[in-house]
């Protein structure tokens, strides 16, 4: 691996709160130096980053890679490629595959497939319960040993208060968070979208905001009871944001993420029964979207996660009730963050990058999210001013179920380095 000199970019490193024009020198897969006028060693490749932003690679705590079991929708390799193309250098794979990632062996499989893919790093999240059945705890210790960085039954909530309590307690031994998909299944049952005026008009069964908020409240209360770390996935309602704010004021170990689609879209997007607007949690109302944005601004919501959920074309091409939930998100997350949060002045660019790299890396205790000397050279270079149109044929994911197709986003990834290796280079794709 030759040395790399990334020259003259705007280097933003939220981990050290630095922002200024500098060079970044990469040697042996690590950050060797960051500063002005770093000389290139003989044989080093030079990347001109003038006018571009150079930042720690993005970190996504919540993706679905569909392998094993649903490889027609996505594989670990295609998901990791999609991640790299979106500027992500580390992604965390949810365990709702077939079989479920609920053991040392299945965690190991994800790790091995990710190494073979050699794109973005892929960290497995183990299931909380065996088969995600909501009954018996999985072997957290062995899964952590094999590479799991958190546990979750995502796709569904941690089924009972008792299971959540024991999971939070048991997870403390291994220093990992329990990530929960907050949904009261009895309230949400049969729901296809947010419960409100649009669901009433479209004749679709609604999922009330209360379905999420009840479980957020439960998890916060159990975090207090156990002293465990609960990470709340894909927060979507105003009430959830208020509950998390309250939990943080009490000093509880509660962290939270929100998705780009929840800070961008509302339930109105379901008009016309577009199945690419069908997700769980559903797109909510304008006041909810605003609360999520404010939560990201004031830190109540710690980080942005894509909830990348690939689905094969056929499965989305059907009646709204029967279509699966979720959208692909790895390649549109940065562009939406810039367009929706930075350009309107809600977040500064360094704040956005903190919420997409440094902060999530800290929540799951992952390497990365920093350009500190000696850290692995996980780096993204992007042009924040470049506007681009999301086109189906340009996406690297195996699935293209996105409500943002045809939209113009801001900020295009030029280069993604993972451990000093080029994982994505838009200027010259064939060298990959």
């Amino acid at each position: 691996m030759s040395d790399l000199l990334i020259r003259g970019g705007r280097v933003i490193d939220p981990s050290r709160a630095t922002d200024g024009v500098a060079d970044v020198y990469v040697k042996d897969g690590k950050i060797e130096a960051v500063g002005r006028n770093i000389p290139a060693q003989p044989g080093a490749s030079i990347i001109d980053a003038a006018g571009k932003v150079v930042a720690p690679g993005l970190v996504d705590l919540h993706v679905h890679l569909r392998e094993p079991g649903f490889e027609h929708a996505e594989t670990i390799a295609t998901g990791a490629m999609s991640a790299a193309a979106g500027g992500f250098t580390a992604i965390c794979a949810m365990p709702n595959t077939d079989p479920v990632t609920d053991s040392q062996a299945t965690v190991g499989f994800v790790v091995r497939q990710a190494i073979r893919a050699a794109k973005a790093r892929v960290y497995p999240i183990g299931a909380v319960s065996i088969g995600q059945n909501g009954e018996q705890l999985t072997e957290f210790g062995e899964m952590v040993q094999a590479g799991a960085v958190a546990v979750s039954d995502d796709g569904r909530p941690v089924a009972t208060s008792h299971l959540m309590r024991t999971a939070l307690e048991y997870a403390k031994t291994f220093g990992i968070p329990v990530a929960d998909h907050c949904e009261d299944m009895s309230l949400a049952k049969g729901g296809a979208m947010h419960e409100g005026i649009i669901s009433a008009r479209l004749g679709l069964k609604g999922i009330p905001s209360a379905a999420e908020e009840i479980m957020v409240a439960r998890d916060i209360i159990l975090a207090e009871l156990t002293g465990g770390h609960v990470h709340l996935c894909h927060m979507s309602t105003k009430g959830s944001v208020a509950l998390i704010r309250w939990a943080k004021e009490r000093g509880l170990r509660v962290t939270a993420e929100a998705t780009p689609h929840h800070f961008t879209l509302t339930h109105e997007r379901c008009e016309g029964y577009d199945t690419n607007a069908k997700m769980n949690p559903p797109l909510r109302e304008a006041a909810d979207r605003e609360a999520i944005r404010q939560g990201l601004k004031d830190g109540t919501i710690d980080c942005i996660a894509s909830d990348h959920a690939p689905h094969h074309y056929d499965t989305k091409e059907r009646e709204f009730d029967d279509a699966p939930n979720g959208i692909v998100g790895l390649e549109t997350a940065l562009g939406l963050g810039l367009r929706e949060l930075v350009e309107p002045g809600l977040l500064s660019l360094p704040d956005l990058l903190a919420r997409m790299s440094t902060v999530p890396a800290r929540i799951f205790k992952l390497p990365g999210g920093t350009l500190m000397v000696g850290a692995p050279a996980d780096v993204v270079v992007f042009d924040p001013a470049e506007r681009w149109t999301v086109r189906r044929e340009d996406l690297h994911s195996r699935s293209t179920n996105s409500p943002f197709l045809g939209e113009t986003l801001s900020g295009r990834v030029q280069l993604t380095l993972v451990g000093g290796r080029v994982a994505y280079d838009r200027s010259n794709r064939q060298i990959l």
Partner: protein, 320 residues
């Protein structure tokens, strides 16, 4: 000013203008007479092929459409697709492609999923008529209710209509709300709060919690069928109590300050949402609704096929 037309499909009343709704009702008017003839047939849709694609069983609506089609001289095929939404067999998109390949002119679709008619309409060139999609809309039912009210009261504007019962799960309620509001009626809904979506007030509909108050307020009651499965799903405790608290009974009607018209889209649960002596009583317009159903469906089919006002001369659609 140009005459209003219906466009390619009839998916719901929400998307129609007042002029379009009135066009359908006015077109239906002379079609009523066709059904009174000895030979109940006009050649308006001769040579047109129509598929009645029913993913849900519905004797009443299917027969009404079939009569409407036959009285317009169309060639019709009935397809009763078994299984509802999560089909064991062919997907809706494949069904759509197959219909397209058979070059049919019109599809009448009844489906258990909201949005299914639009899904089909977006994918085929044929005209699509929604004969009920999930809990979304049932536009021809809404239209026949409007026609029946217009027959009875002379006009819709200013009329007070209370829609009673399971509004939450009712496509009939949605189509009625849109149609009535567009024609200037005042609309209220009445039923247990578990079956009334509170957001209807945002549409300009008032909620009247008690049936006695709805009866005192209204000129007409449109009484929805209470699906028996609502009890199992926990929306109401029992049919017995439903009848006691929300049922439209003769005693309750007797206290009304004026004579109300009683509508019901059928099939009725006698003794649950409506008592027999109300259903069969002097103010019931339930059978005229059925008669008007055929006329309204003839009008919709005729207009979507491109028909002008001159069907009596035999020239509708492509015949010109």
């Amino acid at each position: 000013m140009t005459e209003p037309t219906l466009g390619k499909d009839l998916l719901g009343l929400e998307g129609l203008t007042k002029a379009q709704v009135e066009l359908i009702l006015d077109t239906a008017e002379p079609f009523k007479e066709v059904s009174e003839r000895a030979i109940k047939k006009v050649p308006a849709l001769r040579g047109k092929t129509i598929v009645n694609l029913f993913f849900e069983a519905s004797t009443r609506t299917r027969i009404s459409f079939e009569f409407a089609e036959k009285r317009l001289s169309a060639d019709t095929v009935n397809v009763a697709a078994s299984g509802s939404s999560v089909s064991k067999g062919e997907t809706l998109v494949d069904t759509a492609r197959n219909l397209e390949a058979m070059r049919i002119d019109m599809v009448v679709i009844r489906h258990g999923s909201s949005g299914a008619a639009k899904f089909l309409a977006d994918r085929i060139r044929s005209n699509v008529i929604n004969a009920g999609d999930g809990t979304h809309e049932h536009p021809t039912q809404g239209l026949l209710d409007l026609l029946t009210l217009r027959d009875r009261f002379g006009k819709i504007e200013g009329l007070k209509v209370a829609i009673c019962g399971d509004v939450l799960h009712s496509r009939v309620a949605r189509s009625n709300i849109w149609g009535l509001l567009k024609l200037g009626a005042e609309v209220a809904v009445c039923g247990p709060a578990t079956l009334i979506p509170p957001q209807v007030v945002e549409l300009g509909v008032q909620i009247i919690p008690r049936i006695e108050d709805a009866i005192a307020w209204a000129d007409a009651l449109n009484i929805l069928r209470l699906q028996l499965e609502r009890m199992q799903a926990g929306f109401i405790p029992s049919l017995r109590e439903y009848n006691r608290v929300f049922g439209v009974t003769r005693e309750r009607l007797a206290r009304a300050p004026k004579e109300l018209a009683i509508l019901h889209p059928g099939p009725m649960n006698r003794g649950v949402e409506i008592d027999s002596d109300v259903a069969d009583g002097p103010h019931s317009v339930i059978l005229p609704q059925v008669t008007n159903g055929v006329a309204v469906r003839m009008a919709v089919l005729y207009l979507l096929a491109g028909g002008g006002p001159d069907w009596r001369s035999g020239g509708g659609g492509d015949d010109r």
